[in-house]
């Protein structure tokens, strides 16, 4: 399938009720970028978790605050950015959950890190956090290239 060349952006405010609209938009985008159906669910989850993180932590549950999600792709990868303008994410405070202790929370970023092929965080901005998540197309990532003869 030929992927879409241009990127698109979805804007929402920080009410959790908007997440369902985001998923609908993203599902259509992923299909348009040639992402196979079986890979779409995990990407939907990861992006939803990043937005939930913005709602809960960057904006501390306050509604009406902006969140932007953009998607672009190339022949090799899909790049999704999630951007908020609230309290910046503090990587030093983040602790990976101890799954064996069955925590009631903290699964969100763990899931994102497991789903993304790479995840970077930009907090060197006037306000907020920009998450950039990369998902390689099947057989196109650095590991696949290294494996080629």
């Amino acid at each position: 399938m030929t992927p879409k060349a241009a990127g698109s952006t979805f804007s929402m405010t920080s009410e959790p009720e908007h997440l369902v609209r985001l998923r609908k938009w993203l599902r259509d985008e992923l299909a348009g970028h040639g992402v196979p159906k079986q890979e779409q669910s995990n990407i939907l989850l990861a992006v939803g978790e990043l937005c939930a993180n913005s709602i809960q932590h960057a904006y501390e549950g306050k509604g009406g605050q902006p969140i932007q999600v953009s998607v672009r792709s190339s022949a090799d990868s899909l790049v999704i950015e999630v951007e908020d303008f609230g309290k910046p994410f503090d990587a030093e405070l983040y602790e990976s959950p101890d799954l064996d202790s069955l925590p009631d929370s903290g699964y969100g970023l763990y899931l994102v890190k497991n789903i993304a092929d790479s995840l970077s965080i930009d907090v060197a901005r006037e306000r907020g956090t920009r998450w950039t998540m990369v998902k390689y197309r099947q057989g196109r990532g650095p590991a696949a290239k290294r494996a080629q003869p």
Partner: protein, 111 residues
């Protein structure tokens, strides 16, 4: 979100329908806590009608399971759609929770 609650052989069967995310999780959390606080510590979550669950939904399941186990019961799951099951596997909750293919099999696990 619609949440259907029925009783079957001493087990409260909770069947939500729709997406289980941070917008809807409080309803599920309240329903589960209400049942367990009211003495119904055997709870079966039929997730056949849930096509999407996020980390807040999973957290609600874990919290309810711990509350139910502390009261001598359990929260068990059944009828997970493939995508939902995949997320339980990613977080290793598939090993910690009792998950069954069908409602009948889940109910039979209590007999």
């Amino acid at each position: 979100m619609d949440i259907d609650v029925t009783q079957s052989s001493g087990v409260a069967v909770v069947a939500p329908r729709g997406d289980l995310d941070m917008a809807t999780v409080d309803e599920v959390r309240r329903t589960l806590a209400g049942l367990i606080d009211g003495g119904q510590s055997r709870v079966l979550m039929d997730l056949g009608g849930v096509g999407y669950i996020d980390s807040s939904g999973m957290g609600a399941m874990v919290a309810a399971m711990k509350q139910a186990r502390a009261a001598g019961g359990d929260v068990r799951l059944c009828a997970l759609q493939d995508d939902v099951r995949g997320i339980f596997e990613l977080t290793r909750l598939a090993r910690a929770m009792s998950i069954h293919p069908t409602r009948q099999e889940a109910l039979a696990s209590w007999r």
